[in-house]
């Protein structure tokens, strides 16, 4: 890794970073717009359905949010715990396949039948053809454009500095935001997670602002301590893990709000959280966040170990309780507790969501306060 610094490209990178930030802002506004209009539409549809004499399962349907329009209660929509809801779920799952569009009795099956699609727990997160959400569609397109601009900015930064673009806090932040946006856009291909759009774009925006306002650092070569291929391995996985934790943090917050709303609705009270109609029920959120978190946890475990191996090469000990190591350990422990909480009675549901939130706050703390204010061997903030 030499020091062939390309100043012009560095400046271009910064301009594109700003441009990307503005585009994310537009996407953010569009997502919020979609939340508002879509939840209004659902609310209206529900009121109409009620007027037409809805059946007794209305409550559990309503909780499924967008799923209620699909005409069937999904397998995972057993949030209310009522026997009626349970049976309904089993009925639809067992009988005709997921969306009630399966073949009628008496029709012979052929090997060409591909009805296994969507027969999983997260069916409530599938796209529904019947609903058009122009604002959401626009938001996703704008976000994809922002992502491209952002990618250019990050790649240009890397080329300008002639090394991987994650060697100081500015780069960690901007590359981290890119990973968050990328992971989110990729999951969007498979699942309808547009309801977390406002939070994800908001957080990406926040990260870009933090990078450009709080930690601006011009393009610079690597100090000797960072000149190792472990920089590529250790830090890239750390960025990926942080990206995943960012998304699950957003989902955990929504889960807490949603479960509160569910409780209110179950008690027959009014709730101010009407916008959560767009959001799937809290159990689905919890389960999906768990999937992402378990990947994040594996990544974080790897980060920790790769860091230890690097530390062994650079500093002569694989673990020395340096401040950064302490916090990496704390984060690992909190997420380990989260993983256990999921299978411990009394600790799943809201409590596990809180653990996920605490874990993410530790990640943020580790990244900001520990890097800037605590003395330690990881003093590469570039500030």
């Amino acid at each position: 890794m030499g020091s062939n610094i390309n100043e012009t490209l560095g400046v271009w990178s910064e301009w594109f970073m700003l441009l990307a930030a503005f585009t994310y802002l537009v996407a953010f506004v569009a997502f919020v717009w979609d939340m508002a209009s879509h939840s209004k539409a659902i609310g209206k549809a529900q009121r109409e359905a009620e007027r037409h004499g809805a059946d007794s399962r209305e409550d559990s349907r309503e909780l499924v949010g967008a799923g209620s329009r699909g005409g069937s209660v999904s397998a995972s929509a057993t949030s209310s715990g009522s026997t009626a809801g349970d049976d309904g779920a089993r009925d639809s799952a067992a009988g005709h396949g997921p969306s009630g569009r399966g073949p009628v009795a008496g029709e012979f099956r052929t090997t060409a039948d591909a009805r296994s699609k969507g027969a999983d727990e997260f069916e409530a997160l599938n796209y529904k053809d019947s609903i058009s959400r122009p604002a959401a569609r626009a938001a996703v397109v704008v976000m994809a454009i922002a992502f491209l601009l952002h990618t250019f900015a990050v790649v240009a930064r890397g080329i300008a500095a002639d090394r991987v673009p994650w060697a100081n806090m500015y780069e960690f932040c901007s590359t981290g935001a890119l990973v968050v946006a990328g992971v989110y856009l990729i999951t969007l291909i498979f699942k309808d997670l547009r309801f977390v759009g406002p939070m994800v774009t908001g957080l990406v925006l926040l990260m870009l602002c933090a990078a450009t306002i709080a930690f601006p650092t011009p393009v610079s070569p690597l100090p000797p301590a960072l000149q190792s291929y472990w920089l590529i391995i250790h830090v890239s996985i750390a960025v990926a893990a942080s990206g995943l934790f960012t998304i699950t943090f957003a989902m955990a917050v929504l889960q807490l709000l949603q479960s509160r709303r569910e409780k209110n609705l179950a008690m027959g009270e009014e709730t101010k959280l009407g916008f959560l109609r767009v959001v799937p029920n809290s159990t689905t959120l919890e389960n999906f966040a768990f999937r992402l978190n378990s990947v994040g946890f594996v990544f974080w475990t790897f980060t920790l170990a790769a860091g230890a191996i690097w530390a062994d090469q650079a500093w002569g000990r694989f673990w020395g309780w340096d401040t950064k190591e302490v916090w990496t350990f704390v984060i690992w422990t909190v997420y380990a507790a989260y993983m256990h909480a999921r299978v411990t009675r009394g600790w799943n549901g809201n409590r596990s969501a809180w653990l996920s939130i605490v874990g993410y706050l530790c990640v943020v703390f580790n990244f900001t306060v520990v890097n800037v204010y605590f003395p330690g061997l990881h003093s590469y903030s570039g500030l």
Binding site: S220, P224, N287, V298, V326, H340, V343, T344
Partner: protein, 560 residues
Amino acid sequence: MTQVRDQRDQKGNRNDSVAVPALGPLGMLRWAWTQLTKMSTALVLLLLLAIAAVPGSMFPQRIQDPDAVNSYIEANPTSGPWLDRFQLFDVFSSYWFSAIYLLLFISLVGCVLPRAAQHYKAWRSKPPRTPKRLTRLPQYRRVLLGGRDGAEAPSPSEAIQEATKALKKRGYRVEARDLDGETPSVGAERGMWKEVGNILFHVALLGVLISVAIGSLFGYKGQKIIIEDESFVNTLVAYDSFTPGTNFSADWLNPFSVRLDNFQADFHRDTTDPAQYGAPTDFEADVTVTEEPGAEEKSEKLKVNEPLNVGGTKLYLVGNGYAPVIRVTDGQGNLAYEGPVVTIPTDSVYTSSLVLKVPDAAPDQLGFVGLLLPTAVMDEGSMPRSVDPGLSNPVLIMSSYFGDLGLDNGESQNVYVLDVDSLTEMNSMMSDNGAITLDGANRSAELPDGKGTIEFVDVKRYVGLDIHNDPGRIPAFISFVAAFVGLIMSLFIARRRAWVRAYVGQDHNGVQCTVLEYGLLARGEDHRLGAEAEKLTSLWTSLWEDRGVRDFPLNSSDKA
């Protein structure tokens, strides 16, 4: 750890906790053991461990920087000693931190061992019996076999035999039952490796702990500064500082030697980037290593991220600086000192502080305190300063003292600190004659009152080495790899049970068919269970497509 979701387990725990008052000491122990090995206890211990680690980042720690701890206690005379009493400067070796992680590991062992035994048993036994009512399972389907173009349905036992084969091919371990009866069935299970991974992960964590313990018992670490052209032999006396493991014996030091031939430091030289100008870009030491006395000499390169491994002992480049070569002649005209003096760089431009004690000088012992400026700039009216880490215009600026250095009474002293209280000052920045300033043009200076002369001969470079031997390193790495593999196995392998049962039935036209019903049960997290059920349906379809496979919807009486 123990699955608290298990109904029976819950009941068992409740009974135990209710029975406390009637229990004897043994019963109490058993009760404590049950409490400790519960998953919720482990969870709380995990969270406690996380919280307990936090002070380790808030307060300076002795394992990293004992000096910082001392100055912290000095700066906080009231709270400091109290913090020390609660071991807040030794968090990671404190009683409370150790208590938490030891309890956690005991809990882990108490959880994992029974589970391992249980899993061993499960592995050896046949897949579980077919439940009476498959409809109760989270995934339940049924299909009608036969009837296509008048084709005859496979008999129930035939269907089960085929299904058994297909399930086995799909990775299930299978057990067909009642093949001669009216309702033959097959029990199947897959993903047995999930639990193996889970147990492996937890046992491997224990392995990491043990490896760390081995390292701190039988390893050692030391520091040594080597100046260019000097050698270091790995013996106890040669170290500048040495920290042995608790059970370390000095006989274990392998007798290698290292000579520093050359040290090269590169700095950022791009003038368009003032913020980064002069930042180090590369450190590289050329060394000659002899593995044992009489062995062949080998030339090696030592860099920051590339330690040298000499027979299991690792050498790390952790520091570097300048060592000006100084010659001191005393008041009687004798050579009192000649050699390089290690200076300590204090900033990014290598403004280095220097202390030189000359106890051999006569009639009075001499002491010098000062700075080495590698690239000095001396403007009128301002303090001399270094503007670059490179060695362009090295200047020595020193104060000089004479008197008793206090070295003769046998007390050990820090070589980098000169206690000037008992000494008499000859030169300093503040004194009338000014500080001694030596550079390329003025290489020597006379001390006042005929106390001698000091001469600036040359500047050499030195490197600071950390020398480590940690026998727990390799075991820790192996344990970690095992833990990582175990973690991935336990998280991403799905453990499922499937049961298939066949019996004779009729389709809606009253034609005799074979009904194939099947249910699935997940153990642990499994969001793909429904997908697996659909896959099985496709499997049956491919098996009996020519005879006819039809969906057989449930009616309300089938419900559990």
